[in-house]
């Protein structure tokens, strides 16, 4: 039989008041009832999970001692908390004691005004559970639209099984001071007045045990027969987004689970090829862009950061071809998304310096050169070897803002991006070539004053 997590982690024992020395007073052990409900809130920006466990404890009127132990887990003992869910005004929790010379053990001292069953909620932080988002994109054959599938993959390396847990995922960046894994492995919960010893993680599970665990988890997976994939409810809270997975999930130790987060068909996308030597070297880099908004059939919630793998449908039987993958940052609602799919060999941009000259030398009082114009003429060839039309952005960076530009040829749309950057945007038909030229006059030294005063 599988362990329920808290059966092992938190051996909660109610110890009779009559015995004075609490750490040794393992008298009158009360059988721990099974957990009623466990909820996991898993963060992805830190190795942190907030676990919330609801239990029924049988208390006696008067003073009770509750013993907790968490050996072999990755629980942060400083985060342990307990809250009665009923009889709140009749139950006083005095303290939690971490006794000397006993590791991974805590004793809660409680005075109860009631006798009998009391529901309590125990919360703590644990490390070893994690989740990440990832995505699969499928472009249409003409690459105008993309089916976007979002997934979350939840992994459990915590050393414990979590059966039938309400699972919630937090999207957002949390600020924490200490690593939970480190807190969990301290010899003393709050350390000591000199540096704590860091102990090793729990020993790796032997291979033969893995097979047993797999079977166990398979049983658990089979416990809930769902006729459709679970929905993930998304809501905003403060600076976070909370993803709540429908129903409960069983995530056995060592296992991970991929769950569909959303699927949007036909997201309009723009294919863009960019050439900018300062950023991408001599390669043309392929980008796929869309916006997290209604117009793009998205925009309900932010999209957590992750990696997307992009495929293209090549025929009517939905056979695929792999295009590439890109990692992206968290995308707020209404924000543009630009996926960098890497170097594209089938679109080429070749800028070539065709003429170089200098002119208008200026001299200072000592007869040394203190200004000149540098005139360069570039020919830019843009070629599309693909069998679909493409849009290409050619960005050119200049040393500073003191310049003039003359353009000629088939240059498409011209735009000044900032004071020393210009951009040419060209649409190319399948298997075609366009060519343009520009002459760039860069003013150096005192010639810059001339340029500045003119503008």
């Amino acid at each position: 039989m599988r362990h329920s997590v808290l059966n092992r982690i938190l051996a909660v024992t109610v110890v009779c008041l009559a015995v004075a020395s609490p750490a040794l007073a393992k008298v009158d052990l009360v059988t721990l009832p099974a957990g009623k409900r466990i909820q996991l809130t898993i963060y992805n920006s830190a190795d942190l999970t907030l676990a919330r466990d609801l239990r029924e404890l049988t208390m006696k009127k008067g003073e009770n001692v509750l013993q907790f132990s968490w050996a072999g887990t990755l629980i942060d003992p400083t985060s342990l908390d307990m809250m009665p869910k009923r009889f709140g005004d009749k139950i006083d929790i005095f303290d939690i004691t971490y006794p000397p010379r006993v590791r991974n053990l805590g004793l809660w001292n409680i005075r109860s005004g009631v006798s009998g069953s009391v529901p309590v909620e125990i919360t703590y932080f644990t490390s070893g559970l994690s989740w990440r988002a990832f995505y699969l994109g499928t472009l249409s054959n003409d690459e105008k639209v993309m089916d976007l599938e979002g997934y979350v993959r939840v992994s459990n390396q915590s050393g414990e099984d979590y059966p039938d847990a309400e699972t919630r995922l937090i999207v957002g960046k949390i600020h924490i001071l200490d690593q939970i894994a480190e807190l969990a492995q301290r010899e003393f919960p709050y350390g000591r007045p000199f540096p704590p010893e860091i102990l090793a993680r729990p020993a790796a599970v032997p291979t033969e045990e893995l097979a047993v665990r797999r079977e166990r988890a398979r049983e658990a997976v089979g416990l809930v027969a769902a006729a459709k994939p679970k929905e993930i409810k998304k809501e905003g809270l403060s600076e976070y987004f909370l993803y709540t997975i429908e129903g409960t999930e069983t995530i056995a130790d060592g296992w991970s689970k991929r769950l569909p987060s959303f699927k949007t068909r036909g997201v309009p996308v723009t294919n863009l090829y960019k050439y900018e030597e300062d950023r991408y070297g001599e390669n043309v880099v392929r980008f796929l862009s869309f916006k997290n908004d209604k117009e793009h059939k998205l925009g309900d919630t932010p999209i957590p950061d992750g990696v997307i793998k992009v495929f293209r449908t090549v025929d009517e039987q939905a056979h695929l071809s792999y295009t590439g993958q890109a990692g992206f940052k968290y995308i707020p609602v209404d924000e543009d998304v630009e996926l960098n799919l890497g170097a594209a060999p089938d679109v080429r941009v070749k800028p070539k310096l065709m003429k170089y000259a200098t002119a208008n030398y200026a001299f200072d009082r000592k007869g040394n050169i203190d200004g000149l114009d540098e005139i360069t003429t570039f020919k830019v060839e843009v070629e599309n070897f693909r069998d679909i039309p493409v849009r290409v952005e050619v960005t050119r960076n200049f040393p500073n803002q003191y310049f003039e530009l003359e353009k000629s040829g088939d240059l498409g749309k011209f735009e000044k991006v900032d004071m020393d950057t210009v951009k040419f945007t060209l649409d190319l038909k399948p298997n075609s070539k366009r060519e343009f030229e520009y002459t760039h006059t860069q003013y150096h030294g005192t010639r810059q004053d001339r340029s500045a005063s003119r503008s």
């Binding site: 049983e219 689970k257 793998k309 056979h319 003429k355 200098t358 009082r365």
Partner: protein, 376 residues
């Protein structure tokens, strides 16, 4: 049997029986792998698509897919329901600990046979392209034979698969783990070639007499990837090319080999076959003078022009006419004063001449130019 075939097991879990291990009621025979596609159109990643027929029970079904010893990117694994796309649903995917495996949890509205297509990115299987090009004795044309080398070190055996490239027709081929296969992929006969001798003044010695060994002039064959010569349908992939020549005695000699980059449609494939010692180029700087000197108040030179003359001699010791591509470099700003030969600009600093030289003949000319606004 493919390893993956061995590893794909389907487990049915009866939805209603859910208490314990006994819920796993049936373990069925492994489904055969049907139509398999190995897609090699992305040079960096190989995509495999395979179809399998699963015998599904009504309710929940668990399908194990494992790839021990095979390098698969787990996030790339996709399953497409083909027979009953609206009645069969993928519920979740679980990854067991310490194993290269996953378990698909699939819900079916009925008990039937379901064809699914599983696709994934597989590492260790790729393709190379090789060219073998026999040339006519007179070096006017060659046959371009393109071979596909399929290398499978993925850990996975493919008994039969449709191999697709973005190049030519797809074909059926089986390939086992650690097996390499080379096949003729396309053959283009009698492609006209241009034999080009290139002297680049920036890389070769100017005066061969001063060099102890012969100065070899690089020789390349140029083949245009265009429809008029029978190519031009797709870009020619990068690969190694071995060039042979008909020796006129019913045999061939090996001329040399080169690695060609990807050649898009409309571009030329340039194959360097070796160096010629029968074309000799000698060039000498005959004049280099400073003119228009500007000095500062301390009488130091701050700006000047130059006046330069280069004399070039090209000798052809072969008994055949040849065309030499001569590349001269002039840095900075310059002007030609006099040059009897036509040239094209390769870029602002490189002048390209095409100079025909008859058999056992020579060509001599001088190039007079000025460099402008030179700073010391």
């Amino acid at each position: 049997m493919g390893k993956m075939l061995k590893c794909l097991t389907v487990t049915f879990v009866l939805a209603l029986v859910c208490a314990s291990a006994s819920a796993r009621t049936k373990l069925v025979a492994l489904p055969e792998r049907d139509a398999t596609i190995i897609r090699l159109d992305n040079p960096a990643h190989t995509l495999v698509e395979e179809e399998r027929v699963l015998t599904l029970q009504k309710g929940e079904n668990q399908i194990d897919f494992s790839w021990k010893g095979v390098h698969i990117d787990p996030d790339s694994i996709r399953i497409l329901i083909l027979s009953h796309p609206t009645k069969v649903r993928l519920i979740s995917v679980s990854y067991p600990p310490g194993e290269d495996a996953l378990v698909w949890n699939i819900y079916s509205d009925g008990a039937w046979e379901e064809t699914v297509r599983i696709s994934y990115l597989l590492t260790g299987i790729d393709r190379l392209i090789e060219y073998k090009a026999p040339t006519a004795k007179d070096e006017s044309k060659l046959d371009l034979n393109s071979f596909l080398v399929l290398r499978n070190f993925s850990g996975e055996d493919f008994m039969s698969a449709k191999v697709i490239l973005n190049y030519g027709e797809a074909f059926e081929k089986g390939i086992q783990h650690e097996e390499t296969k080379r096949m003729l992929f396309l053959s283009s006969k009698d492609l006209p070639i241009r034999k080009v001798f290139t002297f680049d003044a920036a890389t070769l010695p100017w005066d061969p007499e001063k060099v102890p060994e012969n100065v070899g002039i690089p020789v390349t064959y140029e083949i245009k990837n265009s429809a008029e010569v029978g190519l031009g349908k797709f870009g020619l992939w990068d690969g190694k090319a071995r060039i042979y020549q008909d020796d006129g005695h019913g045999s061939t000699i090996f001329l040399g080999e080169d690695r060609t980059p990807f050649v898009p449609v409309g571009e030329k494939m340039k194959l360097y076959i070796g160096d010629s010692r029968d074309i000799v180029v000698t060039q000498r700087k005959m004049r280099e003078e400073r003119t228009n000197i500007t000095r500062n108040k301390n009488n130091q030179i701050v700006l000047f022009d130059t006046d330069e003359v280069l004399s070039i001699k090209i000798e052809n010791f072969k008994d055949k006419d040849a065309v030499l591509t001569l590349i001269e470099h002039i840095p900075g700003q310059w002007e030609i004063v006099k040059c009897p030969r036509k040239y094209e600009l390769d870029d602002a600093y490189a002048l390209k001449f095409e100079i025909p030289v008859k058999a056992r003949d020579k060509v001599e000319f001088s190039m007079h130019y000025q460099r402008k606004n030179v700073r010391p």
